[in-house]
């Protein structure tokens, strides 16, 4: 794990938390979306909070894809959950909201879970993926395209 990779995981956490909260704030403003009026969903995207939320989630997506290219899914996923912890801490220390004891337990569980995973290896070694025959085919196709 390099500093760059930790930075990517931090991006996954922060963008997921910020995107989710901004988006849900926007959807509250945009009002009820009904199955009978699919157009209302498109109108919801015009709400600036919803739009910014979607941009933040796109940033999350980029960081998430990046992380999945060098780590297992079951390694990266707990990092996304740290976003919930981040939101609760922001609520407590920045917004001075009450955080109930039950929520502190939730924070402890998530943090513990992430700690468990982070202590282990980030990637399952797949011997067949390192063999040149299987995974090299698409790479060869792309590099020949680039080369030509």
């Amino acid at each position: 794990m390099t500093f760059r990779k930790y930075l990517v995981l931090a991006g996954v956490t922060v963008f997921a938390a910020a995107g989710d909260s901004v988006l849900s704030h926007g959807m509250k403003q945009a009002g009820r979306v009904s199955l009978h009026h699919p157009l209302s969903l498109i109108l919801a995207v015009l709400n600036p909070w919803v739009a910014v939320g979607i941009l933040l989630l796109l940033a999350f997506f980029g960081a998430y894809m990046n992380a999945l290219s060098w780590a297992d899914l079951t390694y990266v996923l707990p990092a996304t959950s740290l976003g919930y912890v981040l939101l609760a801490l922001v609520a407590k220390f920045a917004l001075h909201e009450q955080v109930s004891p039950l929520r502190w337990v939730g924070i402890a569980l998530i943090t513990g879970g992430v700690g468990f995973v982070a202590g282990g290896p980030s990637l399952t070694p797949h011997p067949q993926a390192d063999a040149p025959c299987e995974s090299e085919a698409p790479e060869a196709a792309v590099s020949s395209q680039v080369g030509s």
Binding site: Y84, I110, V117
Partner: protein, 130 residues
């Protein structure tokens, strides 16, 4: 009666969100493993090679499609109001579902450490939102 229907609809939405998320996560994880470590690739061949390789991967598009289904199901469900149920329930189900799916479809070594983490995180998410 109306309340019951809304409750059922919300739970259907929760299951739909979680299933679509798991399918999407597995497909995207597979796609990115096929692409390979993007940091290495970027250093060796530049950003455009990374983008080309990702966009040239069919699993990536299937994964994005599944994520889009999950995303719009979430938008629908959130607009019904009970964020404190929908978001954590869907997230918890996704964590547990993904641990199974990653083991079965991605052949990841989901050892005891990772199982415990999946359960702790799923429980923590529920408590945090409750």
């Amino acid at each position: 009666m109306k309340e019951l229907n809304t409750g059922l609809a919300v739970w259907c939405a929760i299951v739909a969100i979680a299933s679509a998320s798991v399918v999407g996560d597995v497909l995207l994880a597979r796609a990115m493993k096929q692409v390979g470590d993007v940091h290495d690739l970027w250093d060796r061949s530049g950003l455009w090679t990374v983008i080309g390789r990702v966009l040239g991967n069919p699993n990536f598009f299937l994964g994005v499609a599944a994520m889009a289904v999950a995303f719009f199901s979430l938008l629908f469900a959130l607009s019904w109001g009970d964020v404190s149920l929908v978001a954590p329930a869907a997230a918890s189900l996704t964590f547990i579902g993904n641990a199974f799916a990653a083991k079965i479809f991605l052949h990841e070594r989901v050892d005891r450490r990772r199982w415990i983490a999946a359960v702790l995180v799923a429980a923590g998410v529920v408590l945090l939102a409750g």
